[in-house]
């Protein structure tokens, strides 16, 4: 992790992270909230501004680096994780963040994404998932629900979407979380936890594109429906949700079941207690599939946070070990090696 210092000592504020560029997203776009929460949480992550790099691909989300007064690299479509990987390998001292969208990360950049996950390279990836292509003006995306009617699917899409959390877990990401653009406090918390995680951190942010896919998450964001449709994951806490925390989730074998906590048949002690440190991704995967199961609430929070050696550490360690063994290489012994002979 980059040059850890006492956060208070830097005394940065959200403002310090705002660049001088005009933000050009559509008014009302969920991206504004993400930008604001990142700027608000960054003073607390304990990294100097100059040691932070934002890398992005292409899409509305990928304009993000221009608005952050840190180092930034606006890359090409889908390749942000690869650019960031090269940067992190070369410069393990930096804190490297990726801003990306559902088309960028899961369609054209899918391969880079899963490989970054499995390598556990110390990157922080924020997926702005609006379930649509915004910048190209409204085609369906790999996270659009089946049957989605868009300009490129006038009769409805016929393919099944990716579940980004399931995908990240399947690819063995060590930190997997979800938050929502309309939940500023929660998002700040998640961003800080991602920053503190040593290794690959994946955060899916449900983001509303009010131009091409307005209301995609309204069930999860509107006052009337929110409580019954969102469950907040907290490590060591039982899964409760609903108005006045009246409902809970119990695990029946592999099957999650919603129970009423007021009907006298189940108590809070019967509920599934969330453990984000669980080495096995199995339970986290079940959680990730809630969204595919009618009647179950959508989890937000940290699905998984485990510790294992990072790719960049692995590279460093190997270089150190070999250098200790062979001694630091010099030019003469480099060239004058192998079978040499002299001509007089």
């Amino acid at each position: 992790m980059a040059d850890n210092i006492d956060a208070k000592e830097i005394k940065l504020t959200a403002k310090d992270f705002a660049s001088d560029q005009d933000v050009r997203w559509c008014p009302g776009c969920g991206n504004y909230s993400i930008l604001a929460q990142v700027q608000r949480s960054f003073p607390d992550i304990g990294v100097k501004k100059e040691n932070i790099v934002w890398v992005s691909g292409i899409g509305c989300s990928s304009r993000f680096p221009y608005y952050m007064n840190t180092y930034g690299f606006h890359g090409i479509h889908g390749r942000a994780p690869a650019i960031a990987t090269g940067l992190k390998i070369a410069r393990p001292d930096l804190s490297v963040w990726v801003a990306t969208g559902d088309g960028d990360l899961l369609s054209i950049g899918g391969n880079h994404f899963i490989h970054a996950c499995r390598k556990n390279i110390d990157l922080k990836v924020l997926l702005f998932n609006n379930r649509i292509y915004g910048l190209t003006k409204g085609q369906y995306s790999p996270t659009s629900e089946k049957g989605k009617i868009t300009k490129s699917t006038p009769y409805g899409s016929v393919d099944y979407p990716f579940n980004p959390i399931s995908l990240a877990l399947g690819a063995e990401a060590t930190f997997v979380a979800r938050t929502i653009d309309r939940e500023p406090k929660h998002m700040q918390e998640i961003i800080k936890r991602a920053a503190a995680h040593k290794g690959f951190a994946f955060v899916e942010v449900f983001q509303n594109c009010n131009i091409f896919n307005d209301g995609a998450y309204s069930l999860l964001t509107e006052k009337e429906t929110k409580a019954d449709n969102v469950v907040v994951l907290e490590h060591g806490k039982p899964l409760v949700f609903g108005k006045d925390n009246s409902k809970g989730i119990k695990l029946d074998g592999f099957k999650p079941v919603v129970v009423d906590l007021n009907d006298g048949r189940n108590s809070i002690n019967d509920l599934w207690v969330h453990d984000d440190h669980d080495e096995s991704p199995a339970r986290a995967f079940i959680l990730s599939q809630f969204t595919e199961t009618p009647g179950l609430p959508t989890p937000i929070g940290v699905f998984r946070a485990i510790v294992k050696e990072t790719y960049d550490e692995g590279i460093q360690t190997q270089i150190q070990r070999i250098t200790e063994k062979k001694g630091k290489g010099d030019l003469k012994s480099l060239l004058y090696s192998g079978g040499t002979w002299e001509v007089n």
Binding site: Q21, N69, H74, G75, I76, I83, I319, L335, W341, V343
Partner: protein, 619 residues
């Protein structure tokens, strides 16, 4: 060595010999050829090699398409090619004989492994009768040797399986070849010991087989003559035998040390470029970081990320991978980061001929990107030249803050030659100055080379954003302004064009003007050099020039071309350099093209020179 044992055998002195080892792709012919070359280099001959192997790792045994060959040309003179026509063919099976016989010199020597000439193998190679017995080889000196059974005999005490014992037969063939050409066994004995340190029983068996082959030559009645090729009169110095890919690896590590930038390679395995990844992965104690990426695109984009972070970043590939890296190259052009893209060309298009050589990616290198995206293009000409061109590519990339394409090809990549090692202090430093001063910093400001500052993340006060969108001059902010776009397009072009002032002139070997100039680029250098040398010995009025900088070309190129009545451009493509030269300089070159996946033979170029200059008219 072994003086008394050579009694009774005549020793004949030769100036040069070309040997081709051929067998099944599982017979270890590449290893045999490499060992023979390395030993030959150590005894001081000049040499050139040509490995020629199928794309299949273990093609079915005995088939014609599964034949793997390795040709070594060695001499007491200065030579530049692996030789046109072998003098000696070592054929491990009928298929190897069938495939290679057409190349063998009239009256050339064939050493054939008789054990493998059974009815099954003969049939597979398409022979109706055994060529070793039916007199069809009467125009050659045939030496039938039961290599397999002699190897098994020598190893009858061994505890290895029959299969493992049979696999030692290439060492027998190698030992016999060492005897025939009077080379020492020691270098290979040492190699075996190191290589099989963990399998002493294999080391022992290979040692016995090697020696058995050597002593067989001595004791058998079949061979009455041994050959001696005196060391070449090469310039004084310390030498090592080097392949093109190895030289590229060493070149970039050297550039890394001389520039004080850590070396980063982003790469995806692809034939024939993978060896660079393999070599560089060994040099961890030089701080080299190699990243075997998930695909070609990640290879280049990770390298771009590393360049942004202050590494000397390179990416290696071959034609199809080059196609995939195109968009990444455009990004490097726009972000103006130093990066070297190395293309070891192979037969194309598409997957093409993975293990064969070609020079058909020149257009792709110079023109193959969307938008006006100028990238300097350099090309290597020999295995050892790969070292120097790698230094050049790195120097230009760093100094001008630009991606650079370095073209090599399968022939140079795998071929070897003795390399006179440079003195380390003679290799110039490549100083790099990163931006550190906050005052007056602008990401797209320009220095005298029109290069923008290299400002590394981690530098306080220089936080800035770059990317693939058009940049405003100086500030580097995103700009859609029409005037700015035109200005930036021209500026990027000018910056690359200016490199012309910073590269050596095109050198003419032979008369500086006259009837005919043979203009080459890349791996055709050796064959052109030998052809021109031969023609000039016959007093034909021909000169030679070889382009190492293809874009931009040296400033004097036009001058040089205008001084000759005719220009001949031999290329392993359909005339790509010829087209570029025509368009740039309004000359009408004669194109000599070959697209067989094989390098030019000296005779092919020499023949064309003769044809152009006519029977004596050119004198």
């Amino acid at each position: 060595m072994e003086k008394e044992k050579t009694l009774g055998k005549e020793i004949q002195n030769l100036n040069e010999v070309t040997v081709r080892f051929a067998g099944d792709s599982g017979d270890g012919m590449q290893l045999t050829g490499t060992q023979f070359s390395d030993t030959t280099a150590l005894v001081g001959n000049d040499l050139g090699t040509l490995p020629d192997y199928p794309a299949e790792i273990r093609a079915p045994a005995g088939t014609l398409y599964g034949v793997s060959g390795f040709q070594v040309h060695f001499s007491s003179n200065d030579i530049h090619t692996p030789g046109d026509t072998p003098d000696v063919l070592v054929a491990m099976n009928p298929a190897a004989l069938k495939v290679n016989l057409k190349d063998l010199k009239q009256n050339g020597m064939i050493i054939a492994n008789t054990d493998s000439f059974d009815s099954k193998n003969l049939k597979m190679a398409g022979y109706n009768s055994n060529p070793l017995e039916d007199g069809s080889l009467s125009n050659y000196k045939l030496y039938p040797v039961p290599i397999t059974s002699l190897t098994s005999n020598a190893l009858k005490e061994s505890t290895l399986t029959t299969k493992e014992i049979t696999r030692c037969k290439n060492f027998f063939a190698l030992g016999l070849s060492y005897w025939l050409f009077n080379r020492p066994l020691e270098p290979t004995l040492k190699w075996i010991k190191d290589k099989f340190a963990k399998r002493p029983e294999i080391a022992e068996a290979n040692t016995i087989a090697l020696k058995a082959g050597y002593y067989f030559g001595d004791s058998t009645e079949i061979f009455t003559t041994r050959y001696q090729i005196e060391p070449a009169h090469l310039p004084k110095g310390i030498y090592r035998n080097i392949s093109g890919n190895e030289a590229i690896a060493l070149g970039f590590i050297t550039a890394s040390l001389k520039s004080n930038l850590p070396l980063f390679l982003g790469s995806y395995p692809i034939t024939p470029a993978s060896d660079i990844l393999h070599y560089l992965s060994l040099f961890k104690n030089y701080g080299v970081k190699t990243f075997q990426a998930e695909d070609e695109i990640a290879g280049i984009t990770a390298a771009i990320g590393a360049a942004y972070g202050g590494s000397l970043a390179i990416t290696t590939t071959s034609g199809p991978g080059m196609a995939l890296k195109t968009e990444g190259m455009g990004l490097a052009v726009m972000t103006e980061l130093p990066l070297v893209i190395i293309n070891i060309q192979r037969g194309g298009p598409s997957t093409g001929l993975p293990t064969k050589t070609e020079q058909a990616d020149l257009f792709q290198a110079i023109f193959g990107r969307n938008g006006e995206a100028p990238i300097p293009v350099l090309a290597t000409s020999t295995p050892s030249n790969c070292f120097y061109m790698s230094l050049e590519a790195a120097r230009i990339a760093i100094k001008y803050m630009t991606p650079v394409i370095l073209l090599s090809d399968g022939y140079i990549a795998n071929g070897t030659e003795p390399w006179r090692l440079p003195k380390v202090e003679e290799i110039p430093d490549m100083p790099v100055k990163f931006a550190t001063e906050k005052d007056g910093f602008a990401p797209y400001a320009r220095n005298e080379n029109l290069a923008r500052p290299w400002a590394l993340p981690g530098t306080p006060g220089l936080e800035h954003r770059i990317g693939g969108l058009e940049k405003a001059h100086i500030t580097g902010n995103v700009s859609y302004d029409p005037e700015n776009h035109e200005f930036m397009v021209r500026l990027r072009a000018q910056r690359i064009q200016n490199i012309q002032n910073d590269i050596p002139d095109l050198e003419v070997v032979g008369d500086p003007e006259g009837e005919l100039l043979v203009l080459g680029w890349g791996g055709t250098y050796g064959a052109i050099t030998e052809a021109v040398t031969k023609a000039r010995k016959e007093r034909l009025k021909v000169s030679q020039a070889h382009l190492k900088y293809l874009f931009p070309m040296p400033k004097n190129t036009k001058d040089v071309l205008k001084r000759f009545k005719k220009i001949l451009i031999p290329e392993l493509n359909l005339g790509q350099l010829a087209t570029v030269v025509k368009a740039q300089f309004l000359v009408e070159p004669v194109s000599l093209t070959k697209i067989k996946g094989l390098p030019f033979k000296t005779s092919e170029i020499y023949g064309k020179i003769k044809e152009i200059l006519g029977g004596g008219n050119g004198r």
